[in-house]
Symmetry: C2
Subunit: 337 residues, 2 copies
């Protein structure tokens, strides 16, 4: 018999998965009437959030469930490489799903895999989950005996192991690096202002300016909300033209490529007139012309570390919760002096 | 959760097990009212006599399982976009897993998802599966009532719907295109000689030469077995130097970028001295300098078509098996005359 899932309950009442999740967790956001109705139904139909995980938790599958928010991302591909390597070394298998930045998909994947298929999760949160700020599915999974280790895009309020990039300090260090090379008009272009990591990078940028005694100038900041990288240029071009700048740091490499193009078109030489530096260290930075200086995030190390922490937890039933911070390095190529 | 048994249903309605059994089997011995009541309850509580895929095949989850062989691939990302779009339009959800080119992972994913989570599969085969030539997991899935539609990397011997790129004719057409632009020494660089699609492209290349009356020259063919795109250059550089050529066609865009670099380093101008054209139409071809002429595979269309075929099959229980061929287009940019 197919286990009654949160999805089935949502369908039954014609409400969202999030509503059911909140109702079952007695959230104040849901009306008492709805809560009572959903809780009654769940009870009557023997709904158990992760019953199988619970009953099976002493039965090891030697498999790790990995949830990655997006396919086309070199950073996550690097993390994945580290995960696969360390899992293999420890005799674990890996099963990987893509949430495609969707909250519903994330919930479904967790339900599906918790069904006795895996011992624990390694995951980076979907964008929608971060915006919704609804982490009940993570909480349930952990409470029901399926531990989670989060990497990169983590839910602060959830008590679990986390591996994060030192986004704030990395951005600060980058401003220092540029300042020491003689740059004073440093622009910040972000395609991640919705994300916590994007906010940290922005705050780190501001802190860097402050440390170097440079004024913060709002006209030097561009936040791009466009999701299609092919359209970044449309926002970058007028921005580049409108301001006087001698360096640009960006939150990712696609937008850095668009920025370099826009600079060239407006007659600026890279790195002579304007330096460019980007978070990430993927294929584009090596193939761009000039080759891009990047703030390298050590994705493979992050994946490897996350896997090791999860496996240690699975083996020792260790209940300590740690947050590891992976520092970044500036990989100097040709887009900076 | 404890599996709902026939005994539980009998208890619920205070009737005998025999009555429940007869009711579920639509026996004339039981009144229509009782049958309706018992069947409704069994359905609502997902009662199934035997827990296997076969018995679940009439229960729709409105979810499609997608298995993609590799994360960092713009073509598959395009296919995925088409899948998501068409699934959404038809009220279907999508759950996506990555086989990472592993036979074992592919088998595990199919087992896991066939467990009542999805109605059917859209998949592109893992490299290892293609090499092993072991397709029993596909056969089992189909025989047990979970249909499969394969795209791009398909198992010829499996009787299921398939959507493929017209690799052979595309390669032939590309040679014709280059010949008409005045090229006579056309090299072929492949990173896919292990794959059926790589073989088709090579055979199509040979056919194109034959059609144009050009001799086939083995020294103009380079097969790269290296998997790390960062190392393509090491094999491409000496190859480029060793031969006299005026055009190169490649099986992918990463290797085309490496080829353009090697050509520039050896003092050749693109496209004046040597034209470059690559299968695929991803981010690199738009960002490379010069921008790359590509053989565009219409991934989104492929994904959309595959999804439509699967959904039609799920709805109509259509047993016909089709193979759709998606043609390619040459997208002319700056790396060809």
């Amino acid at each position: 018999m197919k286990k009654l899932t949160i999805k089935d309950i949502a369908k039954e009442f014609n409400v969202s998965i999030s509503t059911v999740s909140k109702a079952l967790n007695d959230s104040y956001e849901i009306s008492e009437g709805t809560k009572a109705k959903i809780q009654k139904y769940a009870k009557e139909n023997n709904y158990k959030p992760n019953f199988n995980a619970l009953s099976l938790k002493n039965r090891s599958t030697k498999t790790i469930g990995v949830i990655i928010p997006t396919m086309l991302n070199y950073f996550f591909a690097q993390v994945f490489k580290g995960i696969e390597k360390t899992a293999l070394e420890n005799g674990y298998k890996v099963i990987t799903c893509i949430s495609n930045q969707s909250f519903d998909k994330e919930v479904e994947i967790i339900e599906m895999l918790s069904n006795g298929s895996i011992d624990g999760f390694l995951l980076s949160m979907a964008k929608e989950t971060e915006i919704k700020n609804d982490f009940n599915h993570f909480k349930e999974s952990i409470e029901n005996g399926t531990p989670i280790v989060m990497f990169d895009r983590v839910a602060q309020s959830i008590s679990c192991d986390k591996i994060i990039t030192d986004d704030f300090n990395s951005a600060t260090t980058t401003v220092e690096f540029l300042y020491k090379k003689g740059h004073k008009r440093i622009a910040f272009i972000s395609t991640m202002s919705d994300y916590k990591i994007g906010k940290q990078r922005f705050l780190g940028y501001k802190k860097g300016l402050e440390k170097m005694g440079l004024p913060f100038d709002e006209s030097l900041v561009l936040n791009i909300n466009e999701r299609d990288y092919k359209k970044y240029g449309k926002e970058v071009k007028p921005f580049i033209k409108s301001i006087d700048l001698d360096a640009v740091m960006t939150t990712g490499e696609s937008v850095a490529v668009s920025t370099m193009k826009a600079l060239r078109k407006s007659g600026k030489k890279i790195p002579k007139d304007v330096a460019v530096i980007a978070f990430s260290n993927g294929i584009l930075s090596r193939h761009s012309s000039p080759k891009m200086t990047t703030i390298s995030q050590h994705g493979e190390q992050m994946g490897s570390k996350a896997t090791q922490i999860l496996i240690d937890k699975l083996k020792n039933k260790n209940t300590d919760v740690v947050t590891e911070v992976i520092t970044t390095d500036i990989v100097i190529r040709d887009s900076t002096r």
